[in-house]
Symmetry: C2
Subunit: 201 residues, 2 copies
């Protein structure tokens, strides 16, 4: 902006908001304005909540999730099925699965996928801590990784690492997404959906 509209403190808030996913320079300015207009109802409570969260964020010593306690809320939830561990690349994947309420077990956050070109080898991922968790009562490891080349090569690597333990290893089903129209789907997805077709019940 050529002209100076506000002081540096407000500009800094807008600049930082613009780095959040979902915000651009313009919407961050709108949000910044809403914050300074609602100083007592929104700005101050948000500042306080951020500081409290920053003070309390911990990485779960079991699964690698970020939470305000360790073990995290999910690892310490006694109602969950101890037989199943769902391996995901990122905490965002965990949150997506939790939103869908489709996982009865617990999680393990890998912290990414193998990517030799980016210098990400097995030693950069949370693999030792996963292998250490494979003991009673765990009977199944579901590898819920991306359906990309890197994600799938990570699946193959983990399958080899997990083989000696004798634990059951599974992956997500592939097929037509709910609401998906066939003529918009790629050939790989269509091939998988044909190959894994099932009898109509």
């Amino acid at each position: 902006m050529a002209r100076k509209i506000t002081g540096p403190e407000i500009e800094r808030v807008i600049h930082l908001l613009a780095r959040l996913p979902g915000f651009g320079p313009r919407s961050a300015r709108k949000a910044g304005l809403a914050l300074i207009k609602k100083r007592h109802e929104l700005l101050e409570p948000l500042a306080k909540a951020l500081i409290e969260a920053a003070e309390k964020i911990l990485s779960c010593q079991i699964c690698g999730n970020l939470d305000t306690q360790s073990p995290c809320n999910i690892c310490s939830d006694e109602k969950r099925d101890g037989a199943l561990i769902v391996v995901v690349e990122d905490i965002g994947d965990l949150w997506a699965l939790e939103r869908a309420e489709v996982v009865a077990g617990r999680y393990h956050i890998l912290g990414g996928h193998l990517s030799p070109l980016d210098g990400i080898g097995p030693e950069k991922l949370n693999i030792p801590s996963l292998l250490a968790r494979v003991r009673s009562p765990v009977i199944e490891i579901l590898l819920a990784l991306s359906s990309t080349v890197e994600g799938q090569s990570t699946v193959h690597y983990l399958r080899e690492q997990l083989a000696p333990s004798g634990v059951a290893v599974s992956v997500l089903a592939r097929g037509v997404p709910v609401g998906g129209e066939l003529d918009y789907l790629d050939e790989g997805t269509l091939a998988a959906a044909i190959k894994s077709r099932r009898p109509l019940a």
Copy 2:
């Protein structure tokens, strides 16, 4: 959400982010995740910036703008034309005009528009402080208010209040917006554009 994914401190951040314009519950969750994942690069700087802004926000004693100094950055800008005051309803309107870099003068924030149904009479608006500003070197007051019934009745009220001072009072032009297609425009706008037509230079 039925199940508890994270601790109350993180949920509170997400809940407050969801109250910002441009964010819903889902995008606020994404932004919250980005914040806790980038604790040192994003969460802590944002918390600090918000606190600094909260401590320094002031209402400009001249125009009613919110800034970190009073008189605000605009009122204290010596390069601006002292002859023109642009009256706007809200700080958001000031920011929009500043983004467009189309105002050479200074502003006055009315704080809304007359709305008898909502109990907003002249006494609720920053009108006395506007009348007090109408003296040399001010020679023009541009009423840049909304093109709504309430905005226009506020224009009429202010015109009466300003009349004794003899200052020149103007309003924004009405017509076809840049990029506007005629068959999408309302009849009022088309009528105004025809009435105020100008010879092709």
